[in-house]
């Protein structure tokens, strides 16, 4: 029964850029037609999303086989989603992409909504990024944007609340199966809790508050002062160089704390995880050495680090 028949269509999740973009975990079933999922920190297993925001960038890039791949950025109040439109998309998405990139050239603001497939990829250096592949898109007005913001806020609060109630159970399927969560939810929550460790949900709450302000038309309270320096928009990781040296130390401590199963955490894993949190490899490497020198971490086996 499982091998025959068509695979059920996966639901689209209303999700903010912050929750999606912070994901560094994915899941692929072993069967040929099993869907793959990106698992967010809140434990959503996301195969398909419905996102919206300001189209900030969309640019074509020639690739070796002669075709053009468009890459774009969609900003919502919580952050940026990256998407790419390749050869495999439907004609209508491709056509709309070309139209949009022309329209964006004129400087006209564009609010875009898209239903897209999720994708996680790892660079050669080991950093994990999220990206989206649009299936269907359309230009929307501010009222539909407001609607999406309100709905997405609700869904995010539901996920936060589910995440909190999941903490009453141990992070394994056996314990979680005693909960009220569906199998799909259990799988996501268990995987997320094991991968991401302890979470601070405060910034998600702030995202929701800001989104609701905008949905209610209270733009004033949704406005924040301008950042001191604008990061270059081409930088894939929009917060990488903003971090202070203290942040990275906290991050490394945190990473070792969560991932240490008794033998320490290996160098590469620390680097990869720090990179996923927005710290460049070179900075992390330097910092680990510094922390080792100053006795914050020690190295029980070569390349393996523990907190002192």
């Amino acid at each position: 029964m499982q091998s025959t028949g068509r695979v059920k269509r996966q639901s689209a999740v209303h999700i903010f850029a912050s929750e999606y973009g912070e994901s560094t975990l994915s899941e692929k079933g072993s069967g040929e037609f099993d869907p793959s999922f990106v698992i967010t920190k809140l434990g959503s297993r996301v195969n398909r999303v419905i996102v919206a925001g300001l189209l900030e960038r969309i640019e074509g890039r020639d690739v070796s086989n002669g075709s053009v791949i468009y890459q774009g950025q969609l900003r919502d109040p919580s952050g940026v989603n990256y998407f790419s439109v390749g050869d495999y998309v439907s004609d209508s998405v491709k056509e709309l992409t070309i139209q949009l990139s022309e329209k964006l050239e004129t400087g006209e603001p564009i609010l875009l909504m898209m239903v897209a497939k999720t994708r996680l990829y790892q660079t050669d250096e080991g950093a994990v990024y999220t990206s989206l592949r649009p299936e269907e898109m359309c230009v929307i007005d501010s009222s539909r944007y407001a609607s999406w913001l309100a709905k997405t806020s609700d869904y995010m609060m539901i996920r936060m609340s589910n995440y909190m109630s999941s903490l009453d159970f141990d992070a394994n399927i056996e314990s979680m199966s005693k909960s009220e969560f569906s199998e799909h939810q259990q799988l996501g929550l268990v995987a997320a809790r094991n991968h991401y460790g302890e979470l601070d949900l405060e910034h998600y709450r702030l995202n929701v508050m800001q989104a609701l302000d905008i949905a209610e038309g209270k733009l004033e309270s949704a406005s924040k002062p301008a950042p001191q320096r604008i990061e270059p928009t081409i930088d894939e990781d929009n917060s990488a160089d903003e971090k202070e040296s203290d942040d990275i130390e906290t991050a490394i401590t945190d990473i070792i704390n969560t991932l240490d199963q008794g033998d320490g955490v290996d160098f590469e894993t620390i680097i990869v995880n720090a990179e996923a949190r927005g710290f460049q490899r070179a900075i992390t490497e330097e910092k680990i050495e510094e922390m080792s020198d100053s006795g914050i971490v020690h190295e029980p086996a070569f390349g393996w680090f523990r907190l002192v």
């Binding site: 029964m1 068509r6 269509r9 639901s11 689209a12 999740v13 692929k28 072993s30 419905i50 300001l54 900030e56 960038r57 900003r75 109040p77 004609d91 209508s92 603001p109 609010l111 909504m113 239903v115 996680l120 790892q122 050669d124 250096e125 269907e136 359309c138 230009v139 929307i140 009222s143 539909r144 609607s147 309100a150 806020s153 609700d154 609060m157 394994n172 399927i173 199966s177 268990v190 094991n194 991968h195 929701v208 508050m209 609701l212 905008i214 949905a215 209610e216 038309g217 949704a222 406005s223 924040k224 002062p225 301008a226 950042p227 604008i230 270059p232 081409i234 160098f267 070179a282 390349g303």
Partner: protein
């Protein structure tokens, strides 16, 4: 609001683009905020881009230096050779079995199974090897992704496998997510899968001897048919072996085979099935279980038998047909209860007068067939029908045009239903929405100008919308008929045809998307649910978005976000 509320943002823009006109910059912020609901901090980058023009810088920091180790670190199993001794690789555990083995006179537990490389990369080719874990590490479970360090490669008769030696280290990168169901553990009747071998505990509600005649006429087989129940539900059974357990007795059945006839699962008891009396003083009694055996229209599934149900007959007519030269009669009509509508047919005349409708009846021991997804209750004898004076629900409800509101999730999990309404977010507007050509013979949509089933190319123009709706958990196809599509889009057939003619089909469908994608639609109609998923055939549909401001206020109140 003071005029300089954008001041700090304008400054930020000017520091990046010194040549920009300050008023233009201010006007841009105003426009983003007022027309597009984009607060200044979010609009900032777009505005900078605009004033910066096409200035681009590329900065990419690339410094990969591998920490020096003696370990051979590989991504793919294909990079390994038979001589490799200290290997590090990330894999997914596909299967994991533990067995005991005598090694040098000592009984040892070892684990073996299958692993696959490239565990993170979806869609890529994965290579699968066998492995042996001599530890064995207790933390390995199927489905988990692990990094194995210090493993060695074993090559035997050209077949490669991985040895996880006692000194090797295994780091769990992602815990196994596949739940394991132990055999011999009884499961709820409501959670019985569509096929496979299972174990249940239940009470016998009915049991009768029956015969199955071989199709080739070579004789017949004695079987026993009946139903068992627990508090979660009931299921029919068919025993190929003698079955002597009395009605009302509680039994444990291990190794029953589930077979699904049409849509309805049934237990088969055979030679290898173990049935024994079970003792549980707290198990629900026969009376309680029989009363819950009562079905509603929404619960009817194709192929079910021994159904008990109370329905109202709203339409009834006699039909005649000739079979083998003999004229036969069949009575059929519409029935309904509070959960929906469906059809009923009777092979014997029932005392029903058209002017007395609607009539409430209690049906017992009837069976269900389905035509085009709509359940049709078959009444074989008049004895199965008992007329009731009043319905068990509010008599004033007119069931003939009664529409039941059903959550999308429930619809996708129940059987096909009639007379429902549901809501969902539109997540797809299919490219074949709009004007289509149907085959005049079979009403199928023509593909490339030809009917796939009867080859005819004679066609008739029709209008329909094909959407996918979604509630964040489940999805369904939504097909909206001509009248409802015209009403929903506000475009009549001619206008649609003109638009398609002038803009092209693709642009036309995109205009439907611009109108509907991401919005909530409420649809009335019927459903067809099969192994392909749920399909809603709607004769009415309307966009049903809540006011965003109100919705936001609701969300605040619900979650206490202020």
């Amino acid at each position: 609001m003071s005029d300089d509320k954008y001041e700090s943002h304008i400054k930020a823009v000017l520091s990046e683009c010194p040549d920009a006109d300050i008023d233009e910059v201010k006007a841009s912020f105003k426009k983003y905020e007022e027309e597009f609901y984009i607060p200044p901090q979010d609009a900032l980058r777009s505005i900078v881009r605009r004033f910066q023009g096409e200035k681009q810088t590329t900065s990419k920091s690339n410094d990969t230096n591998n920490s020096p180790r003696n370990t051979k670190k590989v991504k793919s199993l294909s990079e390994l050779s038979g001589a490799d001794r200290d290997v590090e690789i990330e894999v997914e555990i596909i299967s994991h079995n533990v067995r005991e083995q005598m090694i040098r006179g000592e009984e040892k537990k070892i684990a073996f199974g299958l692993i696959e490389d490239n565990p993170w990369d979806d869609g890529s080719e994965r290579i699968r090897w066998e492995y042996k874990d001599w530890g064995p590490n207790s933390n390995i479970t199927p489905g988990s992704v692990v990094r194995i360090e210090g493993a060695s490669v074993n090559e035997y008769q050209g077949k490669m496998s991985l040895n996880i030696n006692q000194g090797a280290r295994i780091a769990i990168l992602r815990e196994g997510t596949r739940p394991v169901n132990a055999p011999g553990d009884p499961i709820d009747i409501s959670s019985i899968p569509k096929d496979g071998y299972i174990c249940v505990v239940g009470r016998v509600l009915s049991s009768r001897e029956d015969q199955i005649h071989r199709k080739d006429g070579s004789g017949s087989l004695d079987v026993v048919r009946g139903r068992i129940a627990d508090e979660s539900g009931t299921i029919g059974f068919l025993s190929w072996e003698p079955f002597a357990h009395e009605i009302g007795s509680l039994i444990k059945i291990d190794g029953a085979q589930v077979r699904t006839f049409r849509e309805t699962p049934e237990l088969n008891f055979g030679r290898t099935t173990k049935i024994e009396p079970f003792h549980d003083a707290n198990f629900a009694d026969t009376e309680k279980l029989t009363s819950q055996n009562m079905k509603t229209v929404s619960q009817l599934t194709d192929g079910s038998r021994d159904v008990e149900i109370i329905v109202q007959i709203t339409e009834w007519e006699k039909r005649s047909f000739t079979k083998d030269g003999v004229e036969k009669h069949l009575w059929s009509g519409q029935i309904a209860d509070l959960t929906g509508r469906c059809r009923m047919s009777a092979w014997e005349e029932l005392p029903i007068e058209a002017n007395k409708l609607p009539l409430t009846v209690k049906l017992s021991g009837v069976r269900v067939r389905a035509w085009q997804g709509i359940p049709d209750i078959t009444v074989d004898t008049a004895k199965q029908v008992e007329f009731l004076d009043t319905p068990p629900w509010d008599e004033s409800i007119n069931l003939e045009d009664h529409v039941v509101e059903v959550e999308l999730t429930e619809l996708t999990k129940s059987s096909s239903r009639v007379g429902i309404t549901t809501k969902g977010t539109i997540v797809s507007v299919r490219d074949d929405s709009g004007i289509i050509l149907r085959c005049v013979e079979c009403r199928r949509v023509l593909r490339d100008g030809e009917c796939a089933s009867c080859g005819s190319s004679e066609s008739q123009q029709d209008v329909r919308l094909r959407l996918v709706i979604d509630n964040g958990e489940d999805t369904a196809s939504l097909l909206i008929n001509k009248a409802a599509s015209i009403k929903l889009t506000g475009l009549d057939e001619d206008t649609m045809a003109q638009k398609i003619e002038s803009e092209g089909k693709m642009e036309f469908v995109q205009s439907l998307r611009d109108m509907m994608l991401g919005r909530v639609v409420k649809a009335n109609g019927r459903t067809i649910v099969d192994e392909q998923g749920a399909m809603i055939l709607a004769d009415h549909a309307e966009l049903d978005d809540d006011d965003p401001g109100l919705l936001a206020t609701e969300v605040r109140a619900k979650w206490g976000v202020n």
